[in-house]
Amino acid sequence: MSAGRDVAMIPDARPPLVAMRGISKRFGPVQAVADVDLSVAAGDILGLLGENGAGKTSLMNVLFGTYAADAGTIEVDGRPVAIRSSADALAVGIGMVHQHFELVPRHTVLENLLVGRAGPDGRLTRAAALERLARIGCDYHLELDPDRLVGDLAIGEQQRVEIAKSLVRGARILVLDEPTATLTPREAEGLFRALRSMAARGMGVIFISHKLGEVLALTSRIAVMRHGRMAAERANDGSLSKPELARLMCGRDLAPPEKPAMAPGAPLLVLDRVSARGRVPLRDVSLALREGEIVGIAGVSGNGQRELADLVAGILPPASGTIAVAGRAVPDPSPRRMQALGIGRVPEDRLTTGMIGAMPLSESMALPWIDEPPFSHHGVLDRRAIRAFAAAGIARFDIRTSGPDARTGTLSGGNLQKALLARELARGPRILLAAQPTRGIDVGATEFVHAQFLALRRAGGAVLLVSEDLEELFALSDRIAVMYAGRIVADLPIGEASVERVGLLMAGVEERAA
């Protein structure tokens, strides 16, 4: 139990804020968490790493009372506690910020803080909440305007509301599940500042992320889970490196993506001043994607990237402008037509638009081609061919599942993404549309996905990579186009793009015409 030793101010005698001991949790045949110890001392920022399915989320769900552990105990301040619901967790001071916020968009910040608020002395009053919010704001760099509607706030601000919600309820241990997945670099910096000031004031933070760089920069200790067990737990004292963490997570070394220089060839996909309706209307979007090229689309979430991806997928019809594929204008794009023109399409939501959770994996993988041989003949399914196709994809892409008959929804995010890629790459597309292809998936799967993109690029294909992960965009792209408010505000060769420049463009800071 060395938790206290890393932070000099905390004497060893004091019990950790929270200690989980011998936690085990099994789902049917799967041992999700096996005999795991984890503790967080006051002032600790613990980075919790692991591949998808390593058990991080299950462990945190046990801590937060969502699941009951099969075995093990939890202590808070050295005292055993029974956590059977999120209310229990909050009552002992454990707060959790989920990936998907649990906020009411039509209510103000203050109203969101007051929702469901029950203390020992009855309801929290408005005045008291305002006062606490103000104190939290200045203590932890979490400034919030209490009267604004949550729906009007940027993602980063909404996240601050989520954090404030936990703090107002007296949380001293804060668990954040991939908090930076949807933030701009600047917003992420703000979050880190807030978390550091919380730790400095004696709180404990558990930070779950797949982004090794930020884990190394932020945390004081790093715990790595693998196959449900605690694989390693180290002080983050400068001795750890990204490759080493990756090795601890995957149990093997990861190779950095190899991107040989290539001269781009003929244009494959050309958008010429395309406008389209949508939640964020696209306005005069022009873009060219050439053979042997990966074009990255950067932007803060909700600036038209989703609409651009839907447009290329054929699901969003253009209102004006033209789309041309391989030099030919596509007069009436539809999912079918785009597919037929050799565009592989990997949508942002793997389970809501990509595959069908309730169907067997084999059927999800045959979904776009079900009308064609070998999957069907004259309207009758060839179930053997459907299963064989899935089995081939599972083998080739090393998809971890019980087999082609597994319900699609039971696959983890990384494996779903592999299955989706296997499906979309199977017919040898020239163009691949990939929207947020590595969001929420682990380093091993990410490496694999990136390798597929680079292989397609080497073969003379093109990839349109829509991502909110700048590290990914910079590692893979030949050009980076930045979207802001439904427009492409810059289209930069990778050599002219820097994180700072792209970050400013993403935030809507205009550049003088070059």
Partner: protein, 379 residues
């Protein structure tokens, strides 16, 4: 304190697909036992008559099969629609549309006698399908709620037919508000050896055909895909609206065939009480079958047994015949509730650590001294 809590299942075991309907029927019978008691009858005796009187004689078995046929047709109609998330509550009206078409064709004197039965069947399916197409079009084109439209179209059909029977279509011979009887040649032949009319065999064939369609054809695949996830289906290039319309046509045709069977095999004319709720019972049949076409066969048989046995039970024990309707309703509720266990697993939960003291007051909150505003842990 031990509590029961529900946890999401990763996989639904296959045996549950069979166990849940059986269990919900048993729970239904237990719940309804209170009503049997209230009616002053012996529960075991009443249920014995209710469930076993079907098997007393060959005639009773035939009667049950004849009752099961429309239940099977409407059950199949509902499950095809529900698979596509087209909430067709209108099998009752579609059955009636089919019955009207079958009866009208069956009365035509200019048609060759041999063509009557096939024409009745085809026209009943066609009219049932058209009556279902209307709400489906409203849903697909104008996003009008299908539950409301399909339900209300039942009454439009029922009262429209009643108005016809009171007026222009009234049987001139009897003077009753019934349609004239169909020609003798239009009466459905009996299935050799079984003594039940052709409609019963058609219903069974339809169950097999629907099963094949749903699991082995691209149409069934598309219906399932659209029902599970229309967004993913559309993204993959499936025309969601067309699939819903097709499912509605198939659904309405199946319900229309139930009407053909009632006219051609049982009543030989249209009456306003022709259906007696088969369309609504079809929803229960489909639910009990868990939208599985083969499961609809035992589900339809079960309700046919209950409907048939209820009369005998009423005469023998004095329990009102309406118990059959109550069972139908309660079975729907227990089945829907039982489906929960397909997705969630009940678990007994003990506290992780032994509770330190009996009362919640005695459990000091770790934060009590900090004024952090926390609730005591007990509830």
């Amino acid at each position: 304190m031990i509590r029961v809590r529900l946890e999401r299942r990763e996989v639904t075991p296959a045996w549950l697909q069979v166990a849940i309907p059986i269990a919900s029927v048993l729970v239904t019978l237990v719940l309804c036992a209170a009503l049997v008691r209230a009616a002053g009858a012996d529960v075991i005796e009443a249920y014995r008559i209710l469930l076993l009187s079907t098997f007393r004689s060959g005639y009773d078995v035939q009667d049950t099969l004849v009752k099961a046929a429309p239940l099977l047709f409407t059950g199949l109609a509902v499950l095809v629609a529900f698979r596509a998330k087209f909430w067709n509550i209108g099998a009752e009206g579609q059955l009636m549309a089919g019955a009207v078409a079958a009866c009208f064709v069956g009365e035509r004197t200019f048609l060759p006698a041999v063509s009557l039965v096939p024409l009745m069947i085809v026209s009943a399916a066609l009219f049932g399908a058209l009556w279902a197409l209307l709400p489906a079009l409203l849903k697909v084109r104008l996003k009008v709620d299908d539950v409301v439209t399909t339900l209300l179209l039942n009454f439009i059909m029922l009262y429209g037919v009643t108005a016809l029977l009171e007026g222009p279509w009234r049987d001139p011979k009897s003077g009753y508000p019934n349609a004239p009887s169909v020609r003798i040649e239009a009466e459905f032949p009996l299935v050799p050896g079984l003594g039940v009319h052709l409609g019963v065999a058609l219903a069974l064939a339809a169950a097999l055909l629907v099963w094949w369609m749903m699991s082995r054809t691209t149409l069934g695949f598309r219906i399932r895909a659209v029902g599970h996830n229309p967004a993913a289906a559309a993204y993959a290039g499936i025309g969601v609206g067309r699939v819903i319309l097709t499912a509605a046509l198939v659904s309405g045709a199946l319900a229309g065939l139930a009407g053909a069977g009632e006219v051609g095999g049982v009543r030989f004319q249209v009456t306003s009480d022709l259906s007696s709720g088969y369309g609504y019972a079809g929803i229960v049949v489909a639910t009990l079958a868990e939208l599985n076409p083969l499961g609809a066969v035992p589900a339809a048989l079960f309700f046919a047994i209950v409907f048939n046995g209820a009369g005998t039970m009423a005469r023998a024990t004095g329990v009102p015949i309406y118990l059959a309707d109550v069972i139908q309703g309660v079975a729907l509720v227990t089945m829907v509730a039982g489906r929960l266990f397909a997705t969630y697993r009940p678990r007994l939960v003990r506290p992780l650590a032994p509770a330190p003291a009996p009362g919640p007051e005695a459990t000091p909150s770790p934060l009590a001294g900090r004024g952090g505003g926390v609730a005591a842990e007990g509830r």
